[in-house]
């Protein structure tokens, strides 16, 4: 049964989070509100800076949208310390608003570790979940591939990877309309006997569950889109995601090097640039609406520090969609079912 929502959805946006804060946050928020009128945004951060940046962009910001905070968690801050010492930061206040039911979701392009830690600490975890997880859309030939975990925790147990699979399965089903998404374990070979202890024990848990587990996939299978959900620990996932994100830059480097070989090649590359840019546009992470932190008792979406206004807009709209589709309730229902198989 879907709960009927009478109040307007309120999304808290960390206006001091990203590298271009608060400018990109303001532009992203305004763009999101243009696309969907049916929610409210709370911009959290230094009121004066927010109003000034809005002025620079000729945006007439309603002051009531702003919740003033005096501190900022920096990218180099250690998460645990920052949460303790910067209680009046946009990041901590944003997560607190969701805990206090004064906001329905929190969006931040700030320090990933601090956003994840503050959200987990303040909002709490869902029942049956020991470790929340951050997942990412990965461009692939199937156009429906999601990698969990991409860096919430680096030392995990098989049970945690199993929890990731449950959460990912619901997330992908509900948000991408894939009825029974396939789940695979990232491994050094497809055969069951391959891999380290962690993978083998997780495979056992997945095989005994009702999830649509298809076995192991290798590094080469991700971009082929062999599985909708690829499960790994945050250490592997984070390294892989960052490596993947560096690929377009390296392609650019190789093309620049090649263009130095002759004027003819330089001209050819110049003429082809726009086509290449369009063809490789699915690689742009700004399109995918950030990475959700799943397993917490609230909605949090985390973005890159370098998030563009487009990225912030998509993060906000993704948070709204998670709220509209009652994701938290669906996670709880799924955890009740799957937790039985433990």
């Amino acid at each position: 049964m879907t709960e009927i929502k009478l109040e307007k959805c309120r999304i808290a946006v960390d206006a001091m989070g990203g590298d271009y804060a608060p400018k990109h946050e303001i532009l992203g928020a305004v763009a999101a509100l243009r696309e969907d009128h049916n929610f409210e945004i709370i911009l959290i951060g230094d009121k004066e800076k927010i109003l000034s940046a809005a002025g620079d962009e000729k945006i007439n910001l309603d002051e009531k949208m702003i919740l003033h905070t005096s501190q900022v968690v920096e990218m180099h801050d250690k998460p645990a310390e920052a949460i303790k010492s910067k209680k009046d930061s946009s990041l901590v206040v944003g997560a607190g608003l969701v805990r206090d039911k004064k906001a329905d979701a929190f969006v931040s392009a700030g320090n990933t570790g601090a956003v994840a830690a503050a959200s987990t600490l303040l909002m709490g975890r869902l029942k049956h979940i020991e470790r929340p997880t951050i997942g990412s859309f990965i461009p692939s030939e199937s156009n429906a591939t999601y990698l969990f975990d991409v860096g919430a925790f680096v030392d995990v147990k098989p049970q945690h990877l199993f929890e990731y699979a449950i959460l990912a399965s619901i997330f992908v089903k509900e948000l991408y309309g894939i009825p029974d998404p396939t789940i695979a374990l990232l491994n050094v070979g497809e055969e069951d006997e391959k891999g380290n202890k962690q993978v083998k024990e997780t495979a056992e848990l997945l095989r005994n569950s009702k999830l649509n587990f298809i076995g192991n996939v290798e590094g080469r299978d991700i971009l082929k889109g062999k599985s909708n959900i690829v499960i790994c620990d945050g250490f592997v996932g984070n390294i892989l995601l960052k490596f993947g994100e560096s690929v377009p830059q390296f392609m650019k480097y190789l093309l620049t090097q090649h263009s130095k070989k002759s004027l003819y090649e330089k001209i050819k590359i110049g003429l082809f640039k726009s086509t290449l840019k369009q063809a490789l546009s699915p690689l742009n992470p700004d399109l995918y609406g950030g990475v959700p932190l799943l397993g917490i008792n609230g909605i949090t979406i985390i973005g890159h520090g370098s998030s563009s206004p487009l990225a912030i807009k998509n993060m906000i709209l993704r948070a709204k969609e998670m709220y509209d589709k009652n994701l938290l309730q669906k996670f709880e229902e799924a955890l009740k079912i799957y937790a039985v198989t433990k």
Copy 2:
């Protein structure tokens, strides 16, 4: 002091190893001998098949080059079992030749696990080495980046990663002329406090050694060439290497998809194809002479199952170079020095 070598170097080539065996192995061997006359090749495998494949290619093969074996280790064979049950396979016989000093190096495009296991078991390990390692050249902006380990072992201890760093350091120094190669640990962040236990403990060992350790690098730093040597366990390395190798295929897919958008784009992509192929040629793994198995008491180079004749040729020439440069002796000297820091 460099040992003076009176005898001609002999390289044992597993003629039944790769997916296109023995054809690619024969073509690669012939091409290698054309480039360097100063060594001998022993082609190991089914004599009849080798002669027949050579005939198909109009190659007049000297029968004395062939060492007949009756069995073949298949790609799906389990390494440990295959070594026991297929003692007259090209793979086991090849590794045995090096052990018996009847060959100076072994080259195979066969079952990676089985080549590594047979080489380790038959040739033995170098003193101070608990775990041998397989390393791979990675194309990067510095054009001098090597990833160790890419899949020899998936469950390792910090001491093993430290051993990889010693071996990799000598390998890169001697074979690529980089006097004091930089060494970094692959991690989820650059800061010392980031990462899992394994990485933190390995960092401690590296910091206390005389190796040129520069700290942590992230997934995004590999293609930038931030470090000459990137150290990780075989689980992470194997997944990353295979992911990287799948990138060109995915680029091709994206371009094909884009070409479907209009005839104009299709024509543009068609015209640009050769330039793109040339520009991305550094991504071709066939250029890099396979992956060496380091830490064993012998020289073994392992190639992809799909190795082209060019790849086989480069693997043979790489093995010859390792022999010419007395790599084994240099490993032993380095291990004596660095092992003291334990």
